[in-house]
């Protein structure tokens, strides 16, 4: 177990393409960090640099107290779980788990003990003699995790480990990874493009875009106070509505609508306004409202997503399923839930007096719980 320090790390490929641009992340011992972003944002490259599978062009990666820039992957004391499992197809599950230990000259008895322990933890004991091809996707993923666990590494690196699983299995494996990580208390770095996975797993998540960090924060911090329009549209489902507006004289103009703000505007002139679909509700009489033209409805059961437009700007509203629908609705503006972003660079404009909703919402990072000491 160890902290990982990523300091000013860049990846420049031959040909000059900069896949990762000076990224710094401080990962505490036992912390679960999720790197999230669209494909091509450099999240996997960053993970692979920590693993030692890619060379580090600039910057330093420190695991524990050791600078590992030039250390072999095998010597970095990390274990990795791959998207396609990368199990050795010709070895049995037992051999797959034992291979790394054998290469390190671990005594046979200890290998047996560790494999048995990991197999018990992951409930793959009945399959130890099988070849990977005789296992289902979920079982293979467990074996891949087992291979990581038996090594008792300083850190787990996950490279989209759940992407090959079907939706239902993904949810249950997600829970299992979280549970396992808490139980072992091993520092973890997890790459995904799925914002839901990121939200549910992370102690802190790192949103990457184009090789740069857009925001680092606890899941609810990122959700409630996205640092940019990119984060706003990436985290949360449905994506946050982003409307073009103008702030002038204490009023927010959205097309022909003008809304009186009950707090000082954070800036003047054109802004991007962010509205979460779930913060919107039908307006009661006399309230300030937006006239919303309904286009189509997605029924999700627990709620319905109403897609439509305010004048020519698309908007999605999440309504309780029993809300009566008409072709046009008056939507109330939740004054304290408005997000303002700069119209030029998309950065968040903090308004004065904004209540820090993250503080009340998030418990401090739970400490690693050692239900059962594994070491």
């Amino acid at each position: 177990m160890a902290a990982i320090d990523i300091a000013g790390v860049s990846k420049i490929y031959t040909g000059g393409v900069e896949a990762v641009k000076s990224v710094s992340i401080d990962i505490a011992d036992g912390e679960f960090i999720v790197l999230v972003g669209p494909s091509g944002c450099g999240k996997s490259t960053l993970l692979r640099m920590v693993a030692g599978l890619e060379t580090i062009s600039k910057g330093n990666v420190t695991i524990g107290t050791r600078l590992v820039n030039d250390v072999d992957p095998a010597e970095r004391d990390i274990a990795m779980v791959f998207q396609n499992y990368a199990l050795y197809p010709h070895m049995t599950v037992y051999e797959n788990l034992a291979y790394g230990l054998r290469n390190r000259g671990t005594p046979k008895a200890e290998i047996d003990a560790r494999v048995a322990e990991a197999a018990r933890m992951l409930e793959i004991e009945p399959y130890l003699d099988r070849k990977p091809r005789a296992l289902s996707g979920g079982q293979r993923q467990r074996v891949a995790m087992g291979r990581a666990i038996v090594r008792k590494p300083a850190a787990f690196l996950f490279d989209e480990p759940l992407s090959n699983l079907d939706a239902k299995l993904r949810v249950s494996m997600r829970g299992e990874i979280k549970r396992l990580q808490k139980r072992l208390g091993t520092t973890s770095l997890y790459v995904t493009h799925d914002q839901l996975e990121a939200m549910t797993l992370a102690d802190r998540l790192v949103v990457l875009n184009g090789g740069r960090i857009e925001q680092i924060g606890r899941p609810l911090e990122v959700y409630h106070a996205p640092a940019s329009t990119f984060v706003a549209s990436f985290i949360g489902s449905p994506a946050m509505n982003l409307l073009k507006g103008v702030l002038e004289g204490g009023r927010l103009h959205l097309g022909t609508h003008a809304i009186d703000l009950d707090y000082p505007a954070p800036t003047r002139g054109p802004v991007t306004v962010g509205l979460r679909a779930e913060d919107l509700r039908p307006a009661s009489a006399g309230e300030q409202a937006l006239l919303f033209r309904v286009d189509y409805v997605e029924e999700l059961g627990a709620q319905r997503l109403v897609h439509g437009a305010v004048e020519d700007q698309p908007l999605t509203v999440a309504l309780p399923p029993e809300t009566p629908l008409a072709s046009e609705l008056a939507i109330a503006i939740p004054m304290d839930r408005l997000h303002f972003f700069s119209a030029e660079n998309g950065k968040r404009l903090q308004r004065r007096g904004e209540t820090d909703r993250t503080a009340m919402a998030v418990p401090a990072r739970p400490q690693a719980v050692n239900l059962e000491s594994v070491s």
Binding site: A51, A79, L87, Y99, N103
Partner: protein
């Protein structure tokens, strides 16, 4: 699925007939006596001299030195076939491993150089090859028979394609598991390539077994003669009023066919697997 009809079977039967009939004729004829064959030509009936003919062919000491037996020649052919197949597999796997997994300057140039040697079969370079072997005093040795033909562009190419289809993550997982280049090759790539190796083995064994020109050139000592050469040797004794031992020639041909057929029959499951699916 297409339902097979009568006509489909007819086509297959014609194919089988064309393939098998000559072999059957050769086998049947080989059981007759030489004089019968000379008089009546090829035969489709059982001649009843199976045991004698085959025993003679395998054990009679013949040739100019009077020391070569059919069994001897079979052994030589076997050494040649096996040496070829094994040597080519080892060499081309190592070459393909270097090309696919190591970055070295001009790697793709080297690959294409290897590949273009496909355009230079043995027959093109047979004189220089002979010169080299002669200078190294390797004529009339197994080394001289096998080594010059070991480099195989075909094998290298097949293994290269196969290695390329092995997911990169497997290499990465092995690296994290502490397997160096050598260990990865032995522990992961070789076992994964088993079916591929079987396929190449069959092709190369048959190729080596059937070599005619190179052994003819390289060996003057009858102790190194192969079966394929032996057949010709028997028909060469047409001197004076002697009737060539047709029956023995046919018997030898049948014997020469057996090992490759056996290898194909034994390995065919692997062969098809190796050429069609990658075992991931």
């Amino acid at each position: 699925m297409h339902r097979t009809r009568f006509f489909d079977h007819v086509i297959l039967l014609i194919g089988v007939f064309i393939m098998v009939a000559p072999v059957v004729v050769a086998f049947m004829t080989s059981t007759h006596e030489a004089a019968d064959i000379h008089r009546n030509g090829l035969s489709l009936t059982w001649g009843g001299h199976f045991a004698e003919t085959y025993e003679t062919v395998l054990t009679r000491e013949g040739g100019f030195t009077g020391k070569v037996t059919g069994f001897n020649m079979m052994l030589n052919s076997m050494i040649l076939g096996l040496g070829f197949a094994v040597g080519k597999i080892v060499l081309s796997m190592l070459a393909a491993y270097a090309i696919v997994y190591f970055r070295f300057p001009l790697a793709s140039l080297f690959f294409w150089v290897i590949f273009t040697t496909l355009l230079l079969p043995l027959e093109v370079r047979i004189l220089p090859s002979y010169e080299v072997m002669n200078a190294l005093k390797l004529t009339n040795t197994y080394t001289g028979l096998i080594v010059p033909l070991l480099a195989s562009a075909t094998g290298t190419f097949y293994f290269r394609q196969f290695f390329k289809s092995v997911p990169d993550e497997l290499l990465e997982a092995a690296r994290i598991d502490g397997a160096g280049p050598f260990k990865f090759f032995i522990d992961v790539l070789v076992p994964l390539s088993r079916t591929m190796m079987a396929a190449i083995f069959i092709i190369m064994f048959v190729y080596g077994w059937n070599q005619y020109l190179w052994p003819t050139l390289m060996t003057t000592d009858e102790g190194f003669f192969t079966l394929v050469r032996g057949i010709k040797q028997i028909l060469l004794v047409w001197v004076g009023s002697n009737i060539p031992d047709y029956n023995e020639a046919f018997a030898l041909a049948i014997l020469a066919m057996l090992p490759p057929v056996m290898i194909v029959v034994i390995f065919q499951r692997w062969f098809i697997k190796g050429l069609t699916e990658s075992d991931k």
